[in-house]
């Protein structure tokens, strides 16, 4: 089976987020880049399915040339092919992103049996790109999945709900958006990383098309510093009586 996994390059923020002066994005000059853990799990699900059923796993991202790095992470996790829908680095909204991905799927040589997405992107968290791609391609879509199996052309997908799991059964081709926890993504071996570096990435220029209405970012804001300068209860085990006091008098849990 042929599986496509869509991922997004995002800054790997630490304990505090710093914005650029124009307040349009995160100041990433001192940061590395990564993708959402949901998407890492989506890649893992894709390569596991291909290992079990044969076929190819392709990773795709819409982003700047540097997003090549995230595609190579996917290749190092043993995905077979990579596609970059290359932009100039300006952020695309969820509708334009979804339209461009759907068009790339239509134009591709493969007929994908399964398209995998993260449930939401780490940075923008729009909760919609996978669903929009599915609707545009006329495919069924199951969102927020934490277990996935494929048997005889049917995807059996589980979503976590309070006290258990809801199970969906969908005929392929289909779109599935996944959540972290569905599997444990593999660590790429040194060798896989080396060979991923040499692999070809298919580059295309996407069309920006987003339909009527607008949803556009005006500016970002880092919420007022929550640093409350915590009260230090003490150092080492000597602090235990003070901890108990807090538990007893303030929080009233003992």
């Amino acid at each position: 089976m042929d599986v496509l996994t869509c991922i997004k390059r995002v800054p790997d923020t630490g304990s505090k987020i710093v914005l650029t002066e124009d307040r349009q994005s995160i100041d990433a000059s001192n940061l590395g880049f990564t993708m959402s853990p949901h998407e890492e799990c989506a890649i893992e699900a894709a390569v596991q399915l291909v290992e079990a059923h044969g076929g190819t796993a392709r990773v795709l991202t819409l982003g700047p040339p540097a997003a090549d790095e995230q595609l190579r992470t996917g290749l190092a996790m043993t995905a077979d092919e990579a596609t970059l829908l290359e932009t100039d680095g300006a952020e695309w909204g969820p509708r334009a992103t979804a339209n461009a991905i759907a068009d790339a799927v239509r134009a591709a040589e493969e007929e994908f049996d399964l398209l995998l997405f993260g449930n939401e992107s780490a940075d923008a968290a729009n909760y919609q790109v996978g669903i929009r791609v599915a609707e545009r391609l006329g495919l069924p879509v199951v969102a927020g999945i934490k277990s996935l199996e494929v048997e005889d052309g049917t995807a059996i997908a589980g979503r976590e709900v309070s006290g258990g799991e809801e199970i969906y059964e969908v005929d392929l081709p289909a779109v599935v958006t996944v959540k972290e926890g569905i599997n444990e993504p593999r660590y790429a071996s040194m060798r896989a990383k080396m060979s991923a570096r040499r692999q070809e990435v298919d580059r295309r220029e996407p069309d920006a098309e987003s339909g009527p209405g607008t949803f556009e970012k005006l500016r970002l804001e880092a919420p007022s510093d929550e640093d409350s300068a915590a009260e230090v209860l003490g150092e080492g085990p000597e602090a235990v009586p003070r901890i108990i006091e807090v538990l007893e008098e303030e929080v009233e849990v003992v």
Binding site: P140, A143, P223, I243, V251
Partner: protein, 323 residues
């Protein structure tokens, strides 16, 4: 008309839906229009009895057996029908898994933009919405302009407020135009989980462990502390990645968001992606060797030191009290 998508359980609206209705009423007031709600399923009509308190004037009840059990695309189609018939100015939905998903279907079928996880709206011709990014560690101001604006509300961000003047909502039954294609995805069955103890998301006390715990065995001390406090055990993503804890334990952006009375974070640095999962705690107490760790600044209480020395002593003291 502003339309709110209300989820319910046992005939009563969920808290997240009441939070959404509070914001929806604010938008209706700003735009001088009426507030309506839509509810799915058997008891959807009974829910109307609880919505007058929040200023809802009309409840659209989607009572179609084909839509029970839950079917996201079909629910989206039912909402799309309401959009077509009533042309609401805006549709608001709580930012729960299901509502977020159904609203995205509406956006896709009607080709409308959608803004997720909003906390405030300034309604003019276009709306200026305030919304969460990175799980709330960043706030975005965005412009949303469309014939019908679609927005979901971030959960537990808008305090629930009843209307000044309660209403007596009328109930209208809706027959959606769903077809077989809309029903390709539908809940087939439910499997109960066998996990015991207090679920992390509902626990009053949570003890969390991170990379500083050092290994899987040392989580025993934290588990004991959680037990002594009738709480649940959680962890950072680093501890999950190390293979020390299962992913179900993970607190944070891509894990569980907790709302306990107290969160005791041990050997966790407090990266933004972890913090967004635990900031809903009333009190955060951090135990860390590094007084400069972010979590030691962000929380209410800090204890500087080695968790391997502090936690066993704390357990001992708690056992003695129970003794």
């Amino acid at each position: 008309m502003i339309l709110g998508f209300v989820e319910w359980e046992a005939g009563e609206p969920l808290e997240t839906s009441l939070q959404m209705l509070t914001l929806a009423r604010d938008v209706a007031d700003q735009t001088g229009t009426s507030l309506a709600a839509v509810a799915f399923g058997e008891e959807g009509a009974a829910v109307a009895d609880h919505l007058g308190e929040y200023g809802v004037e009309r409840v659209h009840h989607v009572a179609d057996d084909r839509l029970t059990p839950y079917a996201p695309a079909a629910w989206g189609q039912a909402l799309a029908d309401l959009l077509e018939d009533h042309r609401p100015e805006a549709v608001l939905a709580p930012g729960t898994d299901r509502c977020q998903e159904v609203l995205a279907h509406v956006g896709a079928t009607c080709d409308l933009p959608m803004a997720a996880d909003c906390t405030a709206v300034e309604a003019g011709d276009a709306y200026e919405v305030t919304r969460h990014r990175w799980g709330g560690s960043l706030v975005e101001h965005a412009r949303l302009e469309a014939s019908t604006k679609l927005l979901s509300t971030a959960v537990h961000e808008v305090p629930i407020e009843p209307a000044d003047v309660p209403t007596d909502p009328t109930v209208h039954t809706v027959e959606p135009t769903v077809d077989a294609e809309d029903l390709r995805v539908q809940v087939d069955r439910r499997e109960e989980s066998d996990v015991e103890g207090v679920p992390l998301g509902e626990a009053r006390v949570v003890v969390g462990g991170g990379r500083g715990v050092g290994g899987p065995e040392d989580f025993d001390q934290l588990e004991e502390l959680a037990d002594l406090l009738d709480g649940a055990l959680g962890s950072s993503r680093a501890a999950v990645n190390e293979g020390w804890r299962p992913h179900d334990d993970q607190i944070g952006l891509t894990g569980t968001k907790i709302t306990p009375d107290i969160y005791i974070a041990c050997g966790i640095s407090g990266a933004v992606q972890h913090w967004v999962g635990c900031k809903g705690a009333d009190t955060v107490l951090a135990i860390n060797t590094d007084p400069e760790a972010a979590i030691m600044q962000k929380g209410e209480y800090a204890v500087v030191g080695d968790l391997h020395e502090i936690v066993p002593e704390l357990n001992e003291a708690l056992r003695e009290r129970e003794g």
